[in-house]
Symmetry: C2
Subunit: 226 residues, 2 copies
DNA sequence: CTTAATATGTGATTTTATTCACTATTTAAG
DNA sequence: CTTAAATAGTGAATAAAATCACATATTAAG
């Protein structure tokens, strides 16, 4: 596929004029990453901005002891890496590909000229930062107010994606994620998640298998979020 | 004081041309708030952007049971309220004046025109959002990795402002804040903070009195942050 | 000056989640 | 095809922090 056509599919660039997009495409570097490939590490000097064309990238932080918390999972069309460019601080987290991924990379020297030539890009980034901040504040509020069972239920509902292949109610939803990863996103232990999932299974709200959770009754799950 | 001179002191506006600042001043509404005055509530439609000229504003969220977490304390020169304007979502938190305060208010209709006429304002807001996000991520990481004693020590160090009036080492620092407020910022109970402060007192690292904590040995306090 | 409101101090108890120590299962890699 | 690595399941013990129930102190407001 031609690069400018790919760019048109990315929300960040969709409202640009074709000519601008062509110009931008000359500044972007293609980067293929294998599963497990590292984009940057916490503490690195921020030297680029990344847009995910295809794949899955995890933004996370690890403690000295090896525990890890996941701050975000980013997919096709998402971008990241702007923070270190915007506030001139070192990378605040690690970025690692969870699947083979294709990214476009914009060097820091080209980032601001690009940004300020495109009002809509500024709008996109402002909106994205705002939504991320909102999400972060929500997370802090949840940790303060809710128990692990409620937080798990809430997160499962958020992660739920409708299972096509069936039109009947009640709808089923599947979440492709290990219990370890889910625990890391909630900032709790894998064991806690496992035990709570067992309770949900016993009540018939979910089924589990390796790397996936099937939600059988999302309405009752929603009732457990408080 | 003349409004344009006040504006010049605010980081968000300092790099504007005098003429622009004069123009902006015609769009800003002055707003005086008494201690306890409410600017907005979580769930409100966001209708304005606020700049603090003088005072102290708390951004917080409360649970149905009355528990409260503090997301930010903002002071002279800080701004807030931009999130609901940038992402078109309802207010994500409450904003209340903790002291008599003077604010300038920019209506949502004037916000974007102002923003996009001033590259430096965009830069300021992008930088501020980025720093806030970084802080929020840090907070989540801390909650996941550190115990309450470590988090308290860390926060005390962050909040420490040098006590002028004495030049001798080791420096003393005073934090003007109730234990309740400190607890709310860390997302823990007031009692937990109180008990940990007792331990710090017994070790001679801090002294406490109503609405204030005096840090007597910041170096040893720093060592407790891990 | 008295009283109400706010802030602090502190033990005992309970709750929640972690840690620990394994077993079992499934998948991927040589 | 075998073995190593990753994932999941589970109970017992432990630890951390919350909750509860007060007492005391300080300040602000009538």
């Amino acid at each position: 596929m031609i690069i400018t056509d790919l760019l048109k599919q990315i929300p960040l660039f969709e409202s640009m004029a074709d000519a601008e997009r062509r110009q931008l495409s000359t500044l972007l570097q293609r980067r293929n990453l294998r599963k497990g490939g590292i984009l940057f590490r916490k503490g690195d000097k921020g030297s680029a901005f990344f847009i995910i064309i295809k794949g899955l990238v995890k933004i996370s932080v690890s403690s000295k002891l090896g525990d890890e918390v996941t701050l975000a999972l980013l997919r096709n069309g998402d971008f990241f890496g702007e923070m270190a460019l915007l506030d001139e601080q070192p990378r605040s987290a690690d970025a690692v590909a969870l699947e083979d991924s294709l990214l476009y990379v914009l060097d820091r020297n080209d980032f601001f000229p690009f940004l300020f030539k495109n009002e809509n890009a500024v709008r996109s980034i402002l909106r994205a930062l705002s939504l991320r901040l909102r999400r972060a504040d929500d997370l802090f509020t949840e940790i303060s107010f809710l128990t692990v069972p409620a937080r798990l239920a809430k997160r499962l509902v958020e992660l739920a994606e409708p299972l096509e292949s069936q039109r009947s109610e009640p709808k089923e939803y599947k979440i492709r994620m290990s219990q370890r990863e889910l625990a890391s996103m909630l900032g709790v232990t894998r064991e806690s998640i496992n035990k709570e999932l067992k309770i949900l299974k016993d009540k018939g709200l979910v089924e589990t298998s390796r790397n996936s959770i099937l939600i059988r009754d999302i309405d009752r799950l929603k009732r457990r979020t408080r």
